[in-house]
């Protein structure tokens, strides 16, 4: 579905921000967090069609929704995460919970459930995870047995337990993954179904405003009309089909949580006087705790926007890209939140400041919707295929296109991004030649390096465009400085880590420095500090302390 026009989208974001400004201030969130309390009334209001109706974003127009696109969802998720990641998760679970239906539901099923979710403001949960089925759903134990009447199938009996289900204890409707005789399948289960009950709300490290609970099924009868798609065995395919964009949502969570923490730190640093001046003027502080995080978050944003536009343009799947977005944005968001505590020193460690909570909350984005290690694996698998299929040209082609970009726009660091891609091509080829991917560590690390190279590519490409992003808060030269800094670091890190990986595992001695263009990467680090100075000063101007 294409996204909305910018003005309509901004109006929605304004409504959301203003709702939060009025209702969701720090003290309120802090109290709920301390009491481990799900703010049911807030979720109800956010779903209320006459107040906000956020859940309508993912429901098609014909069923009473507003048919939002991925770009819309990314922006809304980012703002939700800036408000509170627990509340954001409550909304997200509904998005996720309707996905099996959107992808695999029959027209009658969509009509029935989507319309109800839209009109009755239903909270939905998405129940896949079990005690023995986390990253790997193969060991799914929840069973769905046939119920026959006069020899004809009329429904299923569900038996088993789900674990850590967001909205688990509070949802009105659940999409539940269970093993039917014909294979894993999704079922729509209503609250109050006999034989089905949610368990207690978990006591968690973070996102404590999100209800997380296990689900127990004991011969719970589900009519056969509630088998999503009407055919058994489609469960994993249906779950996979939407990973591209569900991961964009979690990526946006990482981005939002990270920026929220960073903004607090940037403002704080202007007011805190130590060593004779504000911390915001101290390079040892800004260039460690502030600038690299801003750069990484904005690189992730560029990537998220690129993927959102592609999904909105009708491309299907994009699972590797979704994994890259999720991985990069949530790693950066989590790191930024951690650094924000450091940036506030002792104050940051207390609950009087929001960064402590953001840090606890942000961690979940590295775990759910596929852990970040699983992301590394997914990224590696996806691109390894491309590497083999193109006989090693995948990243060489990317490097070539970056090289031409550099000729047109020499200020975005495309030359370094090209070196990063070229180095990656060399490393992957070397891994192939020496059969090093038998080491799982190497494959996961390659996942990380791939993510670095691809973000450098997309960041450079987008920073060169005239219209950059509607979220723009900086002048164009700041984006470009950020893109340069990102590319410099990506090239250096890929080359250095690549060397460590290959030489750490290879049996023969090789010298990769030349093949990786190490000298050029080294020479092009020039200007890094002045770029960081520029970014630090612009961040200070843009997020002025009151």
């Amino acid at each position: 579905m294409p996204s909305m026009d910018t003005i309509s989208r901004e109006l929605m974001l304004d409504s959301l921000r203003n709702y939060a400004k009025k209702n969701l201030f720090h003290e309120f969130l802090r109290e709920k967090d301390a009491n481990n309390e799900f703010p049911a009334e807030i979720l109800k209001e956010m779903y209320d069609q006459s107040i906000l109706g956020v859940h309508l974003l993912l429901i098609p127009k014909e069923y009473g929704g507003i048919s939002g696109g991925t770009f819309d969802v990314y922006r809304v998720c980012e703002i939700l995460a800036r408000i509170d990641l627990g509340i954001a998760t409550g909304v997200f679970a509904t998005f996720l919970g309707t996905d099996p239906l959107s992808v695999g539901g029959t027209d009658e099923q969509k009509e029935k459930w989507m319309t109800r979710i839209a009109k009755e403001n239903l909270l939905v949960a998405y129940a896949a995870t079990e005690a023995d089925a986390g990253s790997d759903l193969v060991n799914l134990r929840t069973r769905a047995e046939h119920v026959l009447k006069n020899g004809k199938l009329i429904g299923y009996k569900l038996t088993g337990n789900k674990q850590w289900i967001s909205n688990g204890g509070v949802a009105d409707v659940y999409s539940v993954l269970a093993m039917a005789p014909g294979g894993s399948s999704w079922f729509m289960v209503e609250k109050g179904t006999e034989g089905f009950s949610p368990n207690k709300h978990e006591d968690k490290h973070g996102i404590r405003l999100s209800n997380t609970a296990g689900l127990s099924f004991d011969n719970a009868y589900i009519p056969k009309e509630n088998l999503i798609g009407g055919v058994e065995g489609q469960g994993l395919t249906q779950a996979q089909a939407v990973f591209g964009y569900t991961r964009v949502m979690v990526a946006a969570f990482g981005l939002g949580a990270g920026w929220e923490a960073l903004e607090v730190a940037i403002k704080y640093s202007q007011q805190r006087i130590q060593g004779g001046g504000p911390l915001s003027d101290k390079q040892g502080y800004t260039h460690k705790l502030i600038v690299p995080n801003a750069v990484n978050l904005e690189a992730a944003r560029a990537y998220i926007e690129e993927i959102s536009e592609r999904l909105d343009g009708g491309e299907k799947g994009l699972q590797t890209e979704g994994a890259i977005a999720k991985y990069a944005a949530t790693e950066s968001g989590n790191k930024t939140a951690e650094d924000a505590i450091q940036a506030l020193g002792g104050y940051g460690y207390t609950k009087d400041f929001s960064v402590e909570k953001i840090k606890r909350d942000a961690k979940i984005t590295c775990i759910y919707e596929g852990t970040n290690e699983v992301m590394e694996m997914t990224i590696f698998r996806g691109r390894w295929q491309e590497h083999l299929k193109t006989r090693g040209r995948y990243y060489i082609d990317m490097a070539d296109s970056l090289q031409s970009l550099h000729l047109e726009s020499p200020e975005v660091g495309a030359d370094l991004a090209a070196l990063a891609a070229r180095a990656l091509a060399v490393i992957m080829e070397e891994c192939r030649a020496q059969r090093l991917t038998r080491h799982q560590h190497i494959t996961f690390k390659l996942g990380k390096l791939i993510s670095l190279a691809e973000l450098a590519f997309i960041f450079a490409k987008r920073a060169a465009a005239v219209e950059y992003t509607e979220t723009i808060k900086f002048d164009r030269n700041v984006w470009q400085a950020m893109s340069r800094v990102y590319a410099k670091n990506a090239a250096l890190q890929i080359a250095a880590e690549g060397i460590a990986l290959i030489l750490g595992a290879a049996e023969k001695d090789i010298d990769l420095a030349e093949a990786l263009n190490f000298n050029t990467i080294q020479a092009l680090q020039k200007g890094l500090i002045s770029d960081m100075d520029l970014i630090a000063s612009k961040l200070k101007d843009t997020f002025k302390a009151k």
């Binding site: 309509s8 203003n18 709702y19």
Partner: protein, 263 residues
């Protein structure tokens, strides 16, 4: 009845910064919002529309992105929206602006009530509302806090220095609205924003409204802004305590020391 409400997009003053060196407003990165007084006027207009089944038109003048405040009006309940946007309008002062808006309102046809915010928070002139009334030769009441329709009469509560006046007016008339302290701005729900895209919306240029070139833009503006600057920062104040004569003595001392007094 047909109500027209005039709204303006302004930079969020809470976030506005002034470049000390050049003396200009830094607009980059400052979010745009609907002028809060206009937001109040808009909400009042919607109340009237609901209570009396009036037709409500929301109108704004500004660059293309000012469509946002028109759409906000539509999403909150207005029936149609008009954006007056033309390069030729750029640089218009309050006189030229009120001329342009009055031409557009004439084009709309028969209207009964015009509501404006008292002033815009970026310029604080409070002149555009009265200007429109003047161009349309229409009676006006400024600084209204409340407005009601009672059969054919319009009854407003106008704030004055030491209280308020209740004024009755006949339509057509223009009212500018102040914003009560407890005003809670409403924002539209997602579905209303989505549906607002289907409401009638027009963008009108100079030609569309038949405005004459010599009365608009910089050329048609009798006011020229010389420069904008933040008021100079005051130095720290010194509080003087003690009895009257003691304090007077201290003050005179300071005056002498600072050479304020030549005795």
């Amino acid at each position: 009845m047909h109500i027209v409400v005039c709204v303006k997009q302004v930079p969020d003053s809470a976030e506005i910064k002034i470049d000390i060196e050049t003396g200009t407003l830094i607009r980059a990165g400052v979010p745009s919002i609907i002028n809060p007084y206009d937001h109040f006027a808009l909400q009042k207009a919607i109340e009237l529309k609901k209570a009396h089944k009036c037709k409500l038109t929301v109108i704004s003048m500004g660059p293309p992105q000012a469509k946002s405040v028109v759409q906000l009006g539509l999403a909150l309940g207005a029936d149609d929206g008009i954006l007056l946007s033309d390069r030729a309008f750029a640089g218009s002062d309050t006189w030229a602006t009120s001329y342009i808006i009055s031409k557009a309102i004439k084009k709309i046809g028969k209207i009964d009530i015009i509501l404006c915010g008292m002033q815009a928070i970026d310029g604080d002139t409070a002149q555009v509302g009265p200007g429109i009334a003047q161009h349309l030769a229409m009676p006006q009441v400024t600084f209204c806090e409340d407005i009601k329709i009672d059969s054919k009469k319009i009854i407003v509560r106008k704030l004055i220095d030491d209280g308020y006046e209740i004024i009755e007016a006949k339509s057509p008339a223009l009212f500018t609205m102040i914003m009560p302290k407890d005003f809670e701005p409403r924002y539209p729900a997602f579905l209303d924003i989505h549906n607002s895209l289907e409401k009638p919306y027009h963008q009108w240029s100079m030609c569309d409204i038949g405005a004459q070139e010599q009365y608009i833009g910089l050329k048609g503006s009798p006011t020229q802004v010389d420069r904008i600057y933040p008021p100079p920062k005051r130095e720290k104040a010194e509080m003087i305590s003690g009895g009257v004569s003691e304090a007077v003595e201290k003050i005179v001392d300071i005056f002498e020391k600072e050479n304020f007094l030549k005795i």
